[in-house]
Symmetry: C2
Subunit: 435 residues, 2 copies
């Protein structure tokens, strides 16, 4: 191993292709079903919502999908992202483990979400769409899409889960700086929003509800597309640049073997982005890394959900997806990790979990923030509420390392916690519930 703290690859090492795990899976994942007919979806079913470039990726069985040069050029604003050895965290823990973290928080919007928003906006632009609609939880995805829409001259309307909209005002400010327009969901701006508000007047909202609103808005506007920040195959494919870079960076750290990978898991895009390229290494016998999805106790789809077909949204407007789900009407507690408050898990992640390629644990938010404060003080980076779950998962593992062993642990830090600081204050004041 080397004595470096941080490896940042040169710009020409930004991956040239996204990685698609589908053709490498030992068994094929179940297809999405049409919400009306219950038949397997055909590409034409999606053309009202998505441009063809993304629909093709969604159904693709190509292992490597070329990244358009225009997208790679935008990626150069912040990529490749750093991989750091957490030397000071290791010292603080007194552990023999070697801990690395891949930090996605230095992107324009402070999270990994820009990795997918930029190509989504690009493929919409070249398809002639002029407006994007989307949902967002904590706001990372909404801000990322607002930025990407701005880059390609598109307008951007965002339905943000009400609990996050109210508790995280800096996020909608960020969306506004990038020219996006955010409203709290459920809202008065859509039929489904108005119906939900009538049925549940006090609801804190959910990603499922916000998706329904954004889908309704896009379906009713021929110039608009809907954009999703996680769950779907094409989003997971875009995020694969995280894991590809990580593998190269570990080579430069002279670490041939990865023992554990810890990622937070909400919809699954960050987990898939870091871990799918490593799962490929596992499947081809070059690695034996254990991949651990760290869910919030408030939305434990993998650890407590059922593996079955379910809608992606609350109102049943999306295709049905085979996934681990808590039920599309499930409304998680209003935990700070708004990005993890989703009732289901990406079909590809669900499939990998079902096949034993991924394991999962659930973490309460007090345990997550305890880990986040420890990490902040050691490494000088305040992680996003979501990312704290990955750190907490790693800390559980580290406490169980037998004497004399020095496993290599990779943690995905999906974003910066600068806009989550009030949550840290709640944790430090001792009033945070451990839901």
């Amino acid at each position: 191993m080397s004595d470096l703290y941080r490896v940042i690859l040169p710009e020409d090492q930004i991956p040239t292709h996204w990685y698609n795990i589908t053709p490498d899976l030992p068994t094929p994942p179940a297809p999405p079903l049409h919400p009306g007919t219950g038949e397997p979806l055909v590409p034409e079913d999606l053309t009202a919502l998505f441009p063809m470039g993304l629909i093709e990726q969604e159904a693709s069985r190509e292992r490597w999908i070329e990244i358009p040069e225009t997208v790679r050029e935008i990626y150069r604003l912040w990529r490749p992202s750093p991989l750091s050895r957490a030397r000071r965290l290791e010292q603080a823990l007194g552990t023999s483990a070697r801990i690395y973290y891949k930090y996605e928080g230095a992107s324009p919007v402070g999270s990994h979400k820009a990795n997918s928003s930029v190509p989504q906006a690009y493929f919409n632009k070249i398809a002639g769409r002029t407006r994007l609609t989307t949902e967002t939880g904590a706001g990372q995805w909404g801000a990322a899409l607002a930025f990407a829409a701005e880059v390609f001259g598109l307008s951007c309307d965002i339905w943000q889960v009400r609990s996050s909209f109210e508790s995280k005002p800096y996020r909608s400010a960020q969306m506004a700086v990038f020219g996006g327009k955010a409203v709290a969901s459920p809202s008065e701006t859509t039929a489904v929003g108005r119906a939900l508000r009538e049925q549940f007047p006090d609801t804190s909202g959910s990603l499922g509800m916000a998706i329904s609103e954004a889908v309704e808005a896009a379906a009713g506007d021929p110039n608009a597309s809907y954009s999703l920040g996680s769950v779907l195959n094409h989003v997971l494919i875009h995020q694969s640049i995280i894991g590809q870079e990580t593998l190269k960076q570990l080579e430069l750290f002279e670490e041939p073997q990865i023992d554990y990978v810890f990622c937070c898991a909400g919809g699954g895009s960050n987990l898939a982005g870091l871990s799918f390229p490593i799962i490929r290494e596992n499947l081809e016998g070059r690695q034996k890394a254990k991949i651990v999805a760290c869910e919030p106790k408030a939305a434990p789809s993998l650890t407590e959900g059922e593996f079955r077909y379910d809608f992606g949204d609350t109102a049943g407007m999306t295709p049905k997806l085979k996934m681990y789900t808590l039920g599309c009407e499930f409304v998680p507690d209003a935990v700070h990790a708004g990005g993890l408050r989703y009732h289901g898990m990406a079909p590809l992640v669900s499939h990998c979990y079902h096949e034993g390629l991924i394991s999962a644990i659930s973490i309460g938010q007090r345990e997550a923030f305890e880990a986040g404060v420890l990490f902040s003080r050691a490494e000088g980076i305040i992680p996003a509420s979501e990312s704290n779950h990955a750190i907490a998962g790693a800390l559980r593992q580290i406490r169980e390392i037998p004497p004399g062993e020095s496993p290599v642990i990779v943690i995905g830090i999906s974003g910066s916690g600068q806009l989550d600081l009030p949550a840290y204050v709640e944790y430090l004041s001792g009033t945070m519930p451990n839901t």
Copy 2:
């Protein structure tokens, strides 16, 4: 010139020495004076407030001061910082200028301040001090010192200018995550604070008042030192790593000649950090860069102040410094760029300005935020309120470039604006005064 977007040097290129401009100045700067006797200060006068390691730097006439290995190791958490070519901003402006920006916002606390807080905490630690006291405006310095104190196991008490304490709650949260304790200044915790509150019950506070409080607290506690985030020579010396890295990075961009350097200027540490190593190149005939200090209209010490001896604080407890000053009792308007709300300018910067080595302009905050929004949308980085002044200064210059000329412009982006987002909302809503 190269086709790169961003140059990040490898860790082993973190400078090994800080640069001290004092021995290179054509005329010697005026010495600080004892606040009581009016005689030139001797090192012993400062031992109640500072450890000897920093006092030696303050008076040093060595050009190069070695950076302790322990400090360089902490620097590795975020340094070297990136230098980027603002290609998308150039396109947005349709300019023939080549614009580069040195981004200090990726540090643990989102600004350049950590470059000095870490060595300050280090020299206090090895001198046996256990507690640090300081002032802070917008909070960047307070957060930086809290982080550095945590690294070296020191406690940290911070007096934050009241207007910023109230308008920027995320900053005190950041300080708390790093274990620091912030109070609004003027406060009830010091005699000078209580007197100021009685005299000016409605005051929004000022850096001068907060300095008085922190100095009083340190002077009364033998285990404590006072730490200052700008103005003093040793702080400017620590920041010189910014400019040293920039010169190396411009070489890799294949840019031998710099035409303009734009920096925001409050106390002067960011300006000095980026520009002093470039002024050295100017003095030795290798560069002819014009250095432009961009002040806020609310605190225009260089452009409207007098060059004379004045106190660094409001209560007259600090040594008297020869500097451009608006008068130590001047209280600037409560503009968002809290880090620039200081009545004076660092003596070394003042001296350089007086000698014609630096020029200066003043910028209203609406002009600053207009520049900040343009920059954010082009480059995907939301700059700190302070940094927006540097961008606005560069934009003024760019609009005056004669056809056919392609000057090389370097902008110092001293910090991230993630915690300034409410100020951006105020700007976007059209209600921001142009003070």
